[in-house]
Point group: C2
Chain length 208, copies 2
């Protein structure tokens, strides 16, 4: 449980960071303000996760820092080079992460179940990303190939870092295996995550 | 009035941006979260200024974008190279800006007077910066010289950009001159800003 709140806590802090950096890449002030507001929402999520960790008797900073290496590695290796890559990353990457946390939340008791569902990404962001990316591809269809390649790279990096976390954090891995009852549940989880990812790529107008 | 709300609006958006970037330079997660929370507060200020501009019948984005060039130029030419430079910049730079806006707010009617006083920087940030910088200088007194030099560069750049704004935005300049009644008031304003700046440098433990 501590591990789960810890990885989420570091994750929302990085999401804040990334949204703030993406805001800087915005083509205009309206979009910049929109992304800045989404970034600010992540900070409120951070505070809630922090306080819950403290309530559970954990050291919030230490619990979160434990996941700094894999999450930083993922984000450092997938720094978007422009506005569109940032949006695809947010939509595709956060989409997979949110699906995963939503599944895990199903195994938890309250108040942690609701806390986790609350701190998942704002659907406004997903809708915004889809609208922007579709419009950009319509304006220049050649962008689709480059962005699809980018999305595949994101997924590859995410899987690689998730494997690191799974290998190193037994408590987190056990929480998930116990939640499903056995290892075949993990297979089902991966299948569901993959299906949802394919759906998102379609919505963006990209080939998976 | 539109000009004043516009420059403040672009200013808080940049403050958000800069605090988010400074958060990334934090030596630990606790400080990082603290700066991220201050950054999030700026976004709420942005929204209030935006809505007031719309209420006054102005185009909020256009009113703010008019000040993008001088404010971006200031921040691009004074990008902190480390955590301490970031704190000195926030304390010294925001301090002067806040003093200036507080003076101007005195000439305004409600609701603009209160709006401007509300969106000035959080004093938490100033206290935090003073504590951190003093502790850092105590740990290594050689830092004081470098940081004092940095503060002087900040002030020089700020004056240079303020002159650009004053030369280009007649409405804003007139608002201030009318507020004081005549040009000697501007002299008094500059004197007050300088005195307060010297006080802040002393509090940081830096020579002006």
């Amino acid at each position: 449980m501590i591990d789960l709140l810890g990885i989420l806590g570091y994750g929302v802090l990085i999401a804040f960071d990334r949204l703030a950096a993406d805001a800087r890449l915005s083509p205009d002030l309206h979009r910049r303000a929109l992304l800045s507001e989404m970034a600010a929402a992540e900070v409120a999520h951070y505070r809630r996760l922090h306080d819950r960790l403290a309530e559970l008797g954990a050291d919030p900073e230490a619990s979160m820092s434990a996941f700094a290496a894999p999450l930083d590695a993922f984000h450092d290796s997938t720094a978007p080079s422009d506005w569109l890559e940032g949006l695809v990353k947010a939509y595709v990457g956060d989409g997979i992460a949110d699906d995963f946390y939503r599944e895990v939340a199903g195994f938890l008791d309250e108040p942690d179940r609701s806390l986790i569902l609350d701190v998942l990404h704002d659907t406004r962001h997903a809708e915004f990303a889809v609208t922007e990316v579709r419009a950009a591809i319509e304006a220049d269809p050649l962008r689709a190939g480059r962005l699809a390649l980018w999305a595949r790279r994101l997924v590859g990096e995410a899987i690689s870092q998730a494997q690191h976390v799974a290998a190193e954090r037994d408590a987190l891995t056990e929480l998930i295996i116990e939640g499903y009852g056995d290892l075949t549940g993990i297979g089902t989880l991966i299948k569901r995550l993959t299906t949802a990812h394919t759906e998102r790529m379609k919505l963006l107008g990209l080939n998976n």
